[in-house]
Symmetry: C2
Subunit: 241 residues, 2 copies
DNA sequence: TAAACTTCGCGTTAATTTTACACAAAATTA
DNA sequence: TAATTTTGTGTAAAATTAACGCGAAGTTTA
């Protein structure tokens, strides 16, 4: 651990953090990963102890290649969830002068999309918890605001990128996919038009899978055709919803 | 001036800057405002002396309310151009560990759109210069990259916001507006379809203006109907191009 | 001064995309 | 076995987008 008062500068410098909004989808609703702020670390200076917050932490000036590396590293440390730098998207910077009561801290918010079914086991249940977007508690710092902005960013991105496929499990059904889109965009689509449009893009591949499903009629299973998507993207095509 | 080594922290802090990509349009081509890096200020530590760069500078930890305030303040100081915080849009954070040779500096890039005809007189010609996007020189630091990213961001934004009207003079013609869209998007539109679409939005108002124009036939003059645009936006409408 | 040329505005038609909507099959429940 | 829920499929109307012809206004050229 570094000694106190070791680092001096000619001009004041702010502290810089990266925060993570990790979205997951369980087939029913959109969820977000939060941590409970503990007093373990720097007890005396830690703020908002016991409150829920977004995972995140300070830029390691000497080691973190970019602030996105900070995001990935802190997410791993705080929740156990290991994501690659490429899995993150930058949302925005939050730099209000009083956003942290201790000192001037600016944060670069990121978001990531994960297949909840794949990672739920990885997340350290002692520290982190998945909350449905519908009942997110009030958060520490300005994290409420960050979450709102991240959501609206996700809503924008979904129009141009197949974000659904990052959130869905490998094998999924059209009704599930539609439900996800409806959850994120908070609208309802016509089932038939949704299916037509999705199939029309040519990114869905039918899969043999006889796992019985809960519902009534058994829907067809699909997987995302990543190669074809990459080909289409290279050609310059537009998703749109 | 502050004494050296006055500000001390328990952990290393990066320096934080805000950089500005200011776009202007002169009726012909898209331009960007650059400054020539001088050795005036902190001579010994200044890097890239004599090279062209984006306007920008260090966050004033004690005074700047947000990094966007930094952007506005520095733009004014370095180019004479006075813009409001609302005129800026955040683009992205650039935080590569070696992007500044002197110390770790992360920068939050912003862009702004201005009516070149209105502000050309305000820009301090000694320090700043407007460059056509077609012949931008190679820039200091990673500013080439920042400019590229800002451009692609502008190209995205133009699909959903009437950015044209921030760049055009108060009174303009449809061919001018079309030229701007074509410059930014690097495509060609059909003159008649472009006009139909634009008029269909209901944001254009015909204006009486008999200033003779250079070309052949004198095109109709318009102005942007801001009130109507706000009304439409409130109702939730989409631009799209 | 007339002819040729360029730029501009208007409107029409064809192609494409989006929207609205009805019915039958599969599985569960009563 | 009948009723109920969920899913899959197709088609016609409506709206939007794309393609395009023409004549008018002004400039340049012969």
């Amino acid at each position: 651990m570094a000694k106190k008062g070791q680092y001096t500068y000619e001009y004041p410098h702010p502290a810089v953090t990266a925060d993570c909004v990790v979205f997951g989808y369980d087939g029913k609703e959109l969820k977000v990963l939060l941590i409970k702020r503990g007093a373990e670390k720097e007890a005396s200076t830690t703020a908002y102890v016991g409150e829920w917050a977004l995972p995140g932490g300070f830029l390691d000036v000497e080691r973190d290649k970019t602030v996105t590396h900070t995001a990935a590293r802190e997410l791993k440390e705080e929740t156990g969830l290991k994501l690659g730098v490429k899995d993150f998207k930058e949302v925005a910077t939050f730099s209000d002068i009083k956003r942290d009561p201790r000192e001037r801290v600016i944060t670069i918010a990121h978001y990531a999309l994960v297949k909840l079914s794949d990672v739920q086991a990885d997340t350290d249940a002692d520290k982190a918890e998945w909350f449905s977007m519908k009942d997110v508690p009030s958060l520490a710092f300005d994290h409420d605001k960050i979450l709102r902005v991240a959501c609206s960013r996700l809503r924008q991105d979904i129009h141009f990128e197949p974000v659904g496929f990052d959130l869905m499990p490998e094998i999924f059904t059209l009704p599930q996919l539609q439900n996800l889109y409806e959850s994120i965009l908070e609208v309802k689509f016509d089932r038939r038009n949704f299916a037509n449009k999705m199939k029309h893009f040519g990114m869905l591949v039918e899969v043999e899978d006889d796992t019985p499903r809960h519902g009534t009629r058994t829907p067809i299973k699909y997987r995302f055709d990543k190669e074809n998507y990459e080909r289409l993207k290279a050609k310059g095509f537009q998703l749109e919803f």
